[in-house]
Symmetry: C2
Amino acid sequence: MQDVPELVAQAREGRPRAVARLISLVEGASPRLREVMAALAPFAGNAYVIGLTGPPGAGKSTSTSALISAYRRAGRRVAVLAVDPSSPFSGGALLGDRVRMSEHASDPGVYIRSMATRGHLGGLARAAPQAIRVLDAAGCDVIVVETVGVGQSEVEIAAQADTSVVLLAPGMGDSIQAAKAGILEIGDVYVVNKADRDGADATARELNHMLALGESRGPGDWRPPIVKTVASRGEGIDEVVQALEKHRAWMEEHGVLTARRTRRAAHEVETLAVTALRARIADLHGDRRLDALAERIVAGDLDPYAAADELVAGVTGGR
Amino acid sequence: MQDVPELVAQAREGRPRAVARLISLVEGASPRLREVMAALAPFAGNAYVIGLTGPPGAGKSTSTSALISAYRRAGRRVAVLAVDPSSPFSGGALLGDRVRMSEHASDPGVYIRSMATRGHLGGLARAAPQAIRVLDAAGCDVIVVETVGVGQSEVEIAAQADTSVVLLAPGMGDSIQAAKAGILEIGDVYVVNKADRDGADATARELNHMLALGESRGPGDWRPPIVKTVASRGEGIDEVVQALEKHRAWMEEHGVLTARRTRRAAHEVETLAVTALRARIADLHGDRRLDALAERIVAGDLDPYAAADELVAGVTGGR
């Protein structure tokens, strides 16, 4: 087994096998996870992370593929993390409509990875930020995190991005209505794809209306633009990239990028800390200390709050 | 404002206003919650808690009302905690089809309370065990916790019971199929209500078949009985009470009752302790300590796991 510093060095040289190995290590909660995360830390924070989400059929894979092409023309190294909550498969394989990205499969400047949940969306939400760290440290300039749907977990994963793109298509009025609340909260850039179809203008208008309704922006605040594309023909993709770069520049100018990344890191640390504290309580369970407290409650010698205090004291040493 | 020991004393005399006041205190996470819980602890563990759940239309309120009558005939004090996840109302009022229980409204030996979630099912699951403690300490012999549906939260609330009754009715095949997995895990006693209708035998047979399929019981294990009732006419209710008493006797004989209550108390304490530890992390957030860690991660000076270690050390004093 290769040692971690060697893997990190190879990943930074752009070797896909090393990148894949590191993602597997962080994804699988390997015992070497901590070692990997420590080795990656110094190389963090260079990649621009774009979240791309939207209902099935909006053309996410096609749009991602077109974005890859545009960034490649600009000489950037690109990674795609395709998160599929419904797929039981995970790993480096090009899955299902990832075939649409197959044109990039032989390009050493593009790394594509599918992550699946295997029924554990919580686990995925934990693994995604760590996979992003690997891709970031490996020297990718742009990381596109593509997720299906706008459910709660997708929203959480989209929250890992620096800029969130919400993709819609004409004739999906119902899904817009249904996802309305979620969509309006997370989009920094909106894209109406399949703009050559009937109803594209109506969808853009409706979206514009909904965004205006929810608006409570001050001067200098970011106003999410709506871009129309035909991703299958590459139309409008340059405008999407311009909107993305504009959002990135706005975030940097206003200190928003660092603030977002700091908030994200804080949330991640908090989650890891709560998990660690839960594990300590589970250890007390193993020691039968929790059971002993529970028995005293059932016997009427103790109330649950006083018992919780004792448990907390057992974890914290009475602080 | 009355003091807590006085309220507890009045509740133990069976005064409904004192019981209502105590439940409101524990339900609303009042600052006096801890005081109330400590005052109740010595009087815990006398009530027999029956969980009653099933799909809408199975006849839960009618069955509960019939059960109240049966237990009242036996001279027991009875409480009903009617948990309605869809209702925005809470409190002592007789809601909706609680009218079917109105025959018991003037009986001082019966206490009926509705609890609603107001959109916070997690909060309800926390409040229910505490309301049960109040009713238990108030000297109720039997507490029926009636919940709608067999969703995850209802399952959690049913897990508060000593004995769980799952109520079904003929012609609800689809809902049985849908809820199959959940239903088969939680029932100690199954009731097919509206047994005078077509399909009652088929429903009982299907249920029996499903229970047999999932069976991995050893000799001496409890085999959930299936009882047929026409609750609106009181038919079969005595058989339900017999099945309940038989289950209770079996649990006592095999040490299962204490084991279940201990496991429940352990789970409750664990939840309270994790909540308390989360609050301590939030305090560190308030101290900007978490933010400082997050800033170091974004700067690449620290990885999230090492940061979580520091956070945990901040809570536990390095233990």
